[in-house]
Symmetry: C2
Subunit: 168 residues, 2 copies
DNA sequence: TTGTCTGCAAACACTTTGCACTTTT
DNA sequence: AAAAGTGCAAAGTGTTTGCAGACAA
């Protein structure tokens, strides 16, 4: 989603905490700051790894015993956070995986098809190539995604090919 | 469409037709050359655009009136063709999209989020970057996928934003 | 004949939706 | 009080699977 453009743009970026930014987004949309939304943003902001909806749901339930959120609410809120520009969504092996996108530098990923780990890397060459190619095709590039699949160093040493080997 | 360029590739590659190659694959695996598998490979080989399972299923039904294949068979055969190296699979908007991978040069894509068209491009710089990054991380790269999302020139001119605007 | 394949229907995983009730504003 | 949000259960997608009958080798 390329919505959520700039409340801030060029520089500011991290003037607001993710929580604040999300509240601003909600207010601007006439949406409400509920217990569930707050809890979800707080939790997501506290962790830094990639995660999927089911993981988040489980984590929330494990955390504050009584204070969870339902599956639909988790999905709905994640979609809002993507709209708000807090999270970036990508699809791997058929499920959506989220990562922080607020105040984080642009980057791409190495994806281990054995353990499903995502390793980040950044290369501005990639962006440069994307721009060049887009220009050649009169294409208005909005974003790009580069994923290099293979086997990570951990999985290479420990031959624990315990997981499914190939997928795209 | 930038599809369908040359069967002619680097060197050998296309010693066998896709059909022959598939038969070889099947035989090597003790699998059988059935009417359905033959029909599917033939049809796929005859077209050059990207397609998904449902499209293929529909096309087959439209073609030879009586001689179709069931949905499960189509899915099973597509998976085999990927294994056989005839097709490459990628996932867009939640559904699997296939493209030729036999005798075709490596390439990446521009993806129009408006009309869902895929435009191919190639850049060996991309491969170079992937290799470099993989090396840096002691990662064994097996493949990569670069998709630049945005709006294609056609959709830019005709403001027919009739389709869903954003997705990842 | 033998063992693989096919098609059907049912199962799947992940995600979304309709709706009555609850909560924020 | 009004409007939006929540959770539940149910419905959707796209894809896969168990199995009995059909078919290639």
């Amino acid at each position: 989603m390329a919505t959520a453009q700039d409340f801030s743009l060029g520089s500011v970026e991290t003037a607001l905490s993710p929580q604040e930014r999300f509240e601003e987004f909600l207010q601007a949309r006439g949406k409400r700051v509920t217990r569930q939304r707050r809890m979800i943003v707080d939790y997501v902001a506290s962790r830094h790894e990639h995660f999927d909806a089911e993981q988040l749901l489980g984590d929330l339930r494990r955390t504050a015993a009584g204070a969870q959120a339902s599956r639909p609410t988790v999905y709905r809120t994640l979609a809002e956070m993507v709209e708000a520009g807090l999270l970036k969504k990508m699809v791997l092996d058929g499920r959506a995986v989220y990562e922080h996108d607020y105040g984080y530098p642009q980057h791409d990923h190495l994806y281990c098809t054995n353990c499903r780990r995502l390793i980040e890397f950044s290369s501005d060459e990639v962006a440069r190539i994307c721009d060049a190619v887009a220009a050649q095709h009169q294409f208005r590039a909005r974003s790009h995604r580069l994923i290099v699949s293979g086997i990570c160093s951990d999985c290479r040493s420990s031959k624990s090919k315990s997981r499914l080997q190939d997928r795209v």
